[in-house]
Symmetry: C2
Subunit: 243 residues, 2 copies
């Protein structure tokens, strides 16, 4: 079973203060790019794996999706999602992605934001996701970029010129990484980009687009503190389709 | 025009001493994986972009390819390639990949080993490569991995635990990188993985496989000096197909 860190009291309190938790999609700087990778949602059946507070589910409802099923392992997050959702067609369900089997050929879009790096058996998730899509359906997802998750010590270094430099080691050694982000002992799974793509292709998806996201120059101009976030990619965004 | 560093006397002398120049494919540690990405070559028409000393051209001839055209910008390399090739069906041609336009729909396989990171307009190369393939044809290529080409100073650092750590900075800033590998002022072009895939997909290829190559554990056991080469990927290998 996946570590349910979002039901850890300290983690949840910290996570609830993040811009993306307070402002929703507008507080997630990768959202404009992720949105550009989505198909038209009008009339579509949508599954959101790791829906959290339900921001994307409500967005999809606003775009005219016919039905939206949001799935998350965290009771804390679903409680808040339900309390903030009045849109027709949105349903939430508590389940662990590690074993959750959505109904077959029932969806036009599978969406997942920053959830898959918590999953140990991503091949299983992708296989069930593929089966849950109708032919022509789309998968759009984001994860922490492998350059972020690789190093044992996720701490900036400086090079001989004093330039902020991200440390890469252990890149080929896939598996658990324990970080102390918001709480002690948060478990994520490091995978290479090649493995993410292997898993997608092996599940039967065709790759439509891959983005290595970092703040744009415009975003850094507006938030100068983010300058070093352009030294390396932050998130990996992927779009695939079932033929 | 591409910098023709292989016709620089000092670079060429150094390059000629590398294991891959002396032993051929057997001296290229990524070869077993790259070979596994190739289609069956028997009866096929093959184009090798950046053929160097012609090792792959002779391999393809040995596998029963019907015809093999090896193209390289370096007269030095082609002189040696011609002097070492007696196989039927192998032809060499001197041309700059930046502008070289192969005949349309004439090939079943386009192969390129460690040449595309010297090219500025890779989108143009991929478009012409796609047009040169017959429907169902394959592209198999390798480049230096973007994690290798990104940093301004390509020098190992150590983290706070003393672990060998590869420096990543400037990853999102694509363009020229000047290194002093074998000779002063070798110009390569840094691109992100996302850009390599965008260019492939935009040219009309479907992605078949992507490998982030580093020495295997078995290779490191045989060559203990390579241990830190597993801290980060070294080459990016890609296979695509024309539908």
């Amino acid at each position: 079973m996946t570590q349910n860190i979002y039901d850890d009291e300290i983690f949840f309190a910290g996570y609830s203060q993040l811009p993306r938790s307070v402002q929703g999609l507008a507080g997630a700087p990768e959202w404009p790019v992720l949105r550009s990778m989505l198909p038209d949602l009008a009339g579509k059946d949508v599954l959101d794996l790791g829906c959290g507070f339900g921001w994307f589910c409500r967005f999809a409802a606003g775009e005219g999706a016919a039905s939206i099923l949001g799935v998350d392992v965290s009771g804390n997050m679903l409680d808040r999602a339900r309390s903030e959702t009045s849109d027709c067609g949105v349903v939430y369900e508590q389940a662990d992605l590690e074993s959750y089997a959505p109904p077959a050929a029932a969806f036009d879009l599978l969406y997942s934001s920053l959830a898959f790096h918590y999953v140990a058996d991503l091949g299983g998730v992708f296989a069930r996701a593929h089966a849950a899509l109708r032919p022509g359906g789309a998968l759009v997802c984001s994860v922490e970029h492998p350059i972020m998750t690789a190093p044992v010590r996720q701490e900036w270094l400086v090079d001989a010129d004093g330039r902020a430099t991200w440390p890469v080691n252990g890149y080929l050694d896939e598996g658990e990484r324990v970080s102390n982000w918001l709480a002690q002992g948060v478990v994520k799974h490091h995978r290479t980009i090649a493995t993410y793509l292997d898993l997608l292709l092996d599940a039967g998806f065709a790759l439509g687009r891959l983005v290595e996201w970092a703040p744009s120059r415009e975003q850094v101009s507006a938030e100068p503190g983010w300058a070093k976030e352009r030294e390396r990619p932050f998130f990996l965004l992927m779009a695939g389709s079932r033929s």
